[in-house]
């Protein structure tokens, strides 16, 4: 298939990009790596009038150290995230999840920011961003910046807090202090598929107990979710297989997963519990 015709704009700065988006009117789509947008346009499920390609906005690429956080540019490719030393040091969970995204060709083009702004509940990175309490830096018309916490960023199915004319610029990942462990547990039928369910766990241990756990759930509802009940049950729980297993049983509370070819809702909820147990166990170093 071939996409429907569209006008193409290729800005080289954030300001130019914002202007292009503003000029593009209502039916404008921002293209990051294009690894979801182009297939959707080929299938003619999307037919924007204008595509604003961020591929040449170099200031959106790269990872930098910003003191209490690392900052990942929205247009940093999955591949570049994977090999980045700051990510490896401060947020290995991101690398672990990114490694499972699609395949190497897609990871060469697909971007960190694009995957988050796409807000696919089956995408690997949104739940990871949630679990790491990431902050989304958004540029608006005229260049105004605002910061949206991960908890507020994912609004609905494929829908984020990004308003009309806004652009995701970078994502701040707060550095974690203390003894933290992380793990991404993904469940798929075939290697390159989206997860049926996945769990991103970030766990702080203290004196043999779990002091704090943050758990992001992939594909358990129209948006990525935090497993709040399980997090609460884990806080202060013994870092033992039984302690974790008991807490993980509440991982599916408050979720509303869809039913599709790969899983019906009740099975997804079951998987969320099993995978949460496994993810937390691994993150806790057990």
């Amino acid at each position: 298939m071939i996409p429907a015709p569209f006008a193409y704009v290729r800005p080289t700065t954030i300001d130019e990009a914002l202007q292009a988006v503003a000029d593009g009117g209502e039916d404008v789509k921002i293209m990051a790596g294009g690894q979801s947008l182009i297939p959707v346009m080929r299938l003619r499920l999307a037919a924007p009038e204008t595509v604003v390609d961020l591929g040449r906005v170099t200031e959106l690429r790269g990872v930098r150290d910003d003191g209490d956080a690392i900052v990942i540019g929205a247009m940093t490719t999955h591949h570049d995230v994977l090999v980045d030393p700051l990510v490896a040091q401060h947020a290995p969970l991101i690398a672990e999840a990114t490694e499972t995204v699609a395949d190497r060709q897609v990871r060469a083009r697909g971007t960190f920011g694009g995957a988050l702004a796409h807000a696919d509940p089956a995408g690997d990175l949104p739940a990871v961003a949630l679990a790491l309490d990431a902050e989304f830096v958004v540029a608006g018309p005229g260049g105004a910046r605002r910061t949206v916490p991960a908890a507020d960023f994912f609004v609905d199915y494929l829908t984020t807090a990004l308003g009309e004319g806004e652009l995701l610029v970078e994502v701040r990942i707060p550095k974690l202090a203390g003894q933290w462990g992380m793990h991404y547990e993904k469940f798929t039928r075939v290697a390159q598929a989206w997860p049926i369910v996945a769990v991103a766990a970030v766990v702080r241990r203290e004196n043999g107990a779990i002091a704090e756990a943050r758990i992001g759930l992939t594909n358990m509802g129209p948006t990525p979710l935090r497993a709040s009940a399980a997090e609460a049950a884990l806080a202060g729980a013994a870092a033992t297989p039984d302690g974790i297993a008991a807490a993980a049983r509440s991982a599916a509370e408050g979720t509303s997963p869809s039913s599709d070819l790969n899983a019906q809702a009740d099975y997804r909820q079951h998987l969320a519990q099993v995978l949460t147990r496994r993810a937390v166990t691994a993150a806790a170093g057990l």
């Binding site: 071939i2 015709p5 193409y8 294009g34 182009i38 346009m41 080929r42 299938l43 060709q105």
Partner: protein, 184 residues
């Protein structure tokens, strides 16, 4: 129409393209690079894999305009000075292809894998080519081919010459001498 300049397999081309033209269609239809093929609509099969500025991408999921100013290598540009790339030779030696439709993409992806990981394990090879579907081989001989190429390219076999390329004559069975067992 947008004008783009792309260097493909060592030749520079300047063309006007519609923004919606996919890189693979530009290669096939405007430049006649029909060695690269399209196998799906959803970026799953990898048959269209080429190297864009040295990195494997699915050319059905890249717009031709995005390749403006870039260097593209396709399966047709791998053999140099009449000698095959070691990966091409390895696919032949190991019977890593049957119908051959996935082969261009499979070879390009496999080369990309070795660039990053010169001596992958069997599991790493299987995961490294997860974005390329083959319906004929069951993959076992493809894995074998990548292992052979990895060995040749890292110089652990003395058959490697120069940059690892081997003579086209090695694969051209019609030109090989008829010595019993020579090919086995």
């Amino acid at each position: 129409m947008t004008q783009i300049n792309v260097r493909v397999d060592g030749v520079s081309y300047s063309d006007d393209v519609e923004p919606r033209t996919l890189l693979v269609h530009h290669l096939r239809e405007q430049l006649g690079k029909v060695g690269t093929v399209v196998g799906c609509d959803t970026s799953n099969c990898g048959a269209c894999t080429v190297h864009l500025d040295g990195v494997a991408v699915k050319s059905c999921t890249v717009l031709a305009v995005q390749a403006d100013g870039s260097e593209v290598t396709t399966i047709e540009g791998l053999a140099q000075n009449g000698t095959l790339h070691p990966m091409q030779k390895a696919f032949h030696d190991s019977h890593g292809l049957q119908c051959g439709f996935c082969t261009p993409g499979m070879i390009m992806a496999s080369i990309d894998l070795l660039t990053e990981n010169p001596s992958p394990s069997e599991t790493e090879i299987r995961e490294g080519i997860e974005g390329n579907l083959c319906r004929c081989t069951g993959y076992q001989n493809i894995v074998r081919a990548v292992q052979q190429a990895a060995a040749e390219m890292s110089g652990t076999q003395d058959r490697t010459v120069g940059n690892g390329h081997v003579s086209l004559a090695v694969v051209d069975t019609a030109a090989a001498p008829h010595v019993a067992g020579a090919q086995s």
